[in-house]
């Protein structure tokens, strides 16, 4: 077992990452060791990222060596909303402090520089007291500090740091004005890449964790709210405000997301999809209220929600249509509204519409698709002519034991679900070849028969496998019979 992470106290005892536990225990006998849990760490970091969404929609996970260790916030154009960069950073750090999380932050022109700056304190100041000074760098004042950065501040892997250390390159100033060619030859391209990224000579965009929504609107509340009705009122006000923005763009929302920022930092996300795009505030509210009715629990609100944000995840162009007073129909809830209402309560996979596919295999020829996705992918395959298909189809054909007069003929008697049936009439066969490009070459042909038993019940039965060509008596393989559907 090796040490994966250390707190500041442990660092003060000169313990190192990657050290064996036994060795660490020898140095510091009363060491507290907690087993590392990467999944929990990631979940925590994701929750923090959700929380930080209040500052900017563009948040990236910082994972220079594969494992996420921090967050990048692209605050371009956002800082003024919080009273400037300094105020914003102070707000972030103090809120983290209130939640009991020790955080270091810095604002710098490039992600690389900010990364180094946030971690530089670790080694220099934080050891002495836990209050780290938050620093804001800009292109005017960065140079002096950057020169003093240790090599580790450049986001380099450990083996490269050791190699650099061995030749005496300990600080950034050592390589800043050094000739690039020998460095490149000796340490590979990563070192120079990191250096350029820190200096802004090479672009390094922050890749957002979640897709950034087209439009989003939020409301900060002076008094936190927790009742469902209050949340719904807020949603309606927000969607009313969104409406004018959507109208200006000539768009309507297809998917919406509601984010509820709780006082203690927990963020709740609720997403809804519409079966037809809309910007109607009442409709959006009704859908969220359906969803809230199903999942919301007022005891979950705790101290209440302080910020509510409504975002349009997906918007589509929708021409405006004049509402008319004459037509009484717009008083009624439309079909789409009904579908949305049911989807919001039961989930999208419960409200489906049929889609047709180009296949002769009956169970592949048609399937059901959620109405919401149905709207998005409106490219329907032209419905081919179907003749004599059963009204009910078993998604898994059920095996039957059948006796046929002649091997290639329809059955005269069969047993299905433990009852015997005498066939009175039969039509067929309709031969459906296997789709070898999906099922492989050993897939078998089906011969479908419509049969009617003596009391008038009609079934769709098929025999799988052709005699002699696809099945071999010598190997004990005979065609099998299956029940596939019930006719009207």
């Amino acid at each position: 077992m090796r040490l994966a992470a250390l707190d500041t106290n442990a660092q003060a005892h000169k313990l190192r990452e990657g050290q064996g536990v036994t060795e660490a225990r020898a140095i510091c006998p009363d060491l507290d060791i907690i087993a590392s849990d990467d999944a929990a760490d990631l979940a925590f970091l994701n929750a923090l990222a959700d929380w930080a969404d209040r500052y900017t929609p563009l948040i990236g996970l910082d994972a220079p060596f594969g494992k996420p260790q921090g967050l990048f916030l692209d605050i371009t154009g956002c800082a003024h909303l919080f009273g400037g960069e300094a105020e914003m950073l102070k707000d972030i750090i103090s809120r983290f402090d209130q939640m009991g999380i020790y955080a270091q932050g810095s604002i710098a022109p490039t992600p690389g520089l900010a990364w180094g700056l946030a971690r530089e304190f670790n080694s220099q100041y934080a050891l002495h007291d836990h209050k780290a000074e938050s620093v804001i760098m800009n292109w005017d004042n960065f140079e002096a500090r950057f020169r003093q950065f240790p090599m580790a501040a450049l986001r380099l892997p450990l083996d490269m740091l050791l190699a650099l250390d061995r030749v005496g390159l300990k600080k950034v100033k050592d390589i800043l004005s050094a000739p690039r060619k020998p460095l490149m030859r000796r340490f590979g391209p990563l070192l120079l890449k990191r250096l350029d990224q820190a200096l802004g000579q090479e672009e390094e965009p922050v890749s957002p964790r979640l897709p950034v929504s087209d439009l989003s609107l939020e409301r900060r509340l002076a008094e936190p709210i927790g009742r469902q009705e209050d949340i719904e009122t807020c949603i309606e006000q927000l969607s009313n405000a969104l409406r004018s923005d959507l109208e200006k763009r000539g768009q309507a929302g297809q998917e919406f997301m509601l984010m509820l920022f709780r006082m203690d930092g927990v963020v709740r996300k609720i997403m809804i999809g519409l079966s037809a795009p809309s910007r109607d505030a009442k409709r959006i509210r009704a859908l969220f209220s359906q969803k809230l009715a199903a999942i919301y629990d007022e005891s979950d609100a705790g101290m209440g929600f302080e910020t509510i944000r409504l975002s349009v995840l997906q918007a589509v162009i929708k021409p405006d249509v004049q509402d008319s007073f004459v037509d009484g129909r717009n008083v009624q809830t439309s079909m789409h509204q009904l579908a949305d209402q049911i989807t919001a309560r039961l989930g999208e996979e419960s409200v489906v519409k049929p889609v047709f596919h180009q296949s002769f295999i009956p169970e592949r020829a048609a399937s059901f698709m959620p109405v919401i996705q149905h709207v998005k992918h409106d490219d329907q395959i032209a419905q081919s002519q179907y003749c004599d298909r059963p009204i009910r189809l078993f998604s898994n054909p059920e095996p039957v034991t059948a006796i046929a007069e002649v091997p290639e003929g329809p059955p005269i008697r069969f047993q299905w679900r433990r009852s015997q049936y005498q066939v009175a009439r039969a039509e067929g066969p309709e031969r459906i070849g296997a789709e070898w490009w999906i099922d492989g070459e050993s897939a078998q042909t089906r011969d479908y028969y419509r049969v009617e038993d003596k009391s008038g019940r009609r079934f769709w039965i098929f025999r799988q496998g052709l005699y002699e060509r696809e099945t071999h008596l010598s190997q004990g393989l005979l065609p099998k019979w299956f029940m596939h559907g019930l006719f009207a």
């Binding site: 059963p390 019930l486 006719f487």
Partner: protein
């Protein structure tokens, strides 16, 4: 102990049925409606007496004729059946359709879909509105009786693109959706499919659905798969069974044996104003989109492919060996030499 035995005696269904039939018969007498009575409710007898029954029934009473104008009633264009149904199937109401066995589900669901589709096309004609059919199916009914197959709907003449399928996980959710859609005017018809006799769909549960359907003026069909007869708020309960299908007609208008053409249903009026269950056999014609009552016996002199060489067989082209100028038949005695 004795009291409980006596009570069990009281609720024997056949005794109740007898009492009920007597009462209904009396009411019919007061209302001066002619009724046909069957002592035996078995299927075979009711089918046999079907034709006689039709002659006994009087024509439509006037009150129903008046109602037709403002109330939406689906008629079958068969005087006997329409009279038995008091004019037809009332479309602003809850109607229950029942299949006794799971293997009859195909017939019951097809008949229900056809009724819903009739309503859909009726609304299209009357108000020029394209309204969808909502089909709500409970999980167990889908697993036991199979999924509704959209191409199958198309072969019945129903366009599945105008239908919305709801597949709730639990019966509780299914009932919630059912109550929501029952009161919508933006729906042509709602079908709720359940399996057996769930407790939530008792008198109270079905009454809620019936009242909603009534106020919306849209039909609500309760499709009961493999269920028992149960007292519900539905005004009309039909038992649906499949009966042998029609035979395909050959170009010479003769029927062709061993063929399956228009599906046929046997409709039993299990709960209606009539004293005893009556049965009718209806055939659905895909092409004309209408029901026809079966007039002649399907086994009347069909052409048997195996025994008869007919010019009909062969898709309109007569077989070469069966033309007008045939070789004379060979004699009985063949000389061996």
């Amino acid at each position: 102990m004795r009291a409980s035995l006596a009570r069990e005696d009281l609720i024997r269904p056949d005794l109740i049925r007898k009492d009920l039939d007597c009462l209904r018969h009396k009411i019919a007498k007061i209302e001066k409606r002619s009724t046909a009575r069957f002592d035996n409710t078995s299927f075979a007898q009711s089918v046999k007496s079907d034709k006689d029954n039709a002659q006994h029934l009087v024509t439509l009473p006037k009150q129903y004729e008046n109602n037709n104008g403002d109330k939406d009633i689906l008629q079958f264009d068969d005087p006997a059946l329409d009279t038995a149904l008091s004019g037809g199937i009332n479309l602003g109401a809850l109607t229950e359709l029942r299949s006794q066995e799971t293997r009859q589900t195909g017939a019951a669901s097809a008949f229900t879909w056809i009724l819903a589709h009739q309503m859909q096309s009726f609304l299209k004609q009357k108000h020029n509105e394209d309204l969808p059919i909502v089909f709500i199916s409970e999980t167990s009914s889908r697993l036991e009786g199979g999924q509704i197959y959209p191409p199958g709907l198309m072969s019945l003449g129903i366009n599945p693109a105008t239908c919305l399928f709801i597949q709730p996980r639990s019966l509780h959710d299914a009932l919630w959706v059912a109550e929501l859609t029952a009161k919508q005017k933006s729906v042509a018809a709602t079908i709720l499919e359940v399996r057996g006799n769930p407790q939530n769909l008792d008198m109270a549960g079905t009454r809620r659905l019936h009242l909603r359907a009534q106020s919306a003026g849209r039909p609500f069909f309760l499709l009961r798969q493999a269920g028992e007869e149960e007292a519900t708020a539905a005004r009309l309960r039909l038992g649906v069974q499949s009966v042998p299908a029609a035979l395909r007609a050959l170009p010479s208008q003769r029927a062709f044996s061993n063929s399956l053409s228009n599906p046929a249903f046997q409709i039993t009026l299990e709960k209606s104003k009539n004293p005893a269950p009556q049965s009718f056999i209806l055939e659905w014609n895909n092409d004309s989109h209408s029901f026809t009552t079966r007039s002649k016996d399907i086994s009347s002199n069909p052409v048997d492919f195996h025994q008869e060489q007919s010019p009909d067989i062969g898709g309109g082209i007569s077989l070469s060996g069966n033309g007008s100028d045939q070789a004379s038949e060979m004699g009985r005695v063949v000389a061996f030499g």
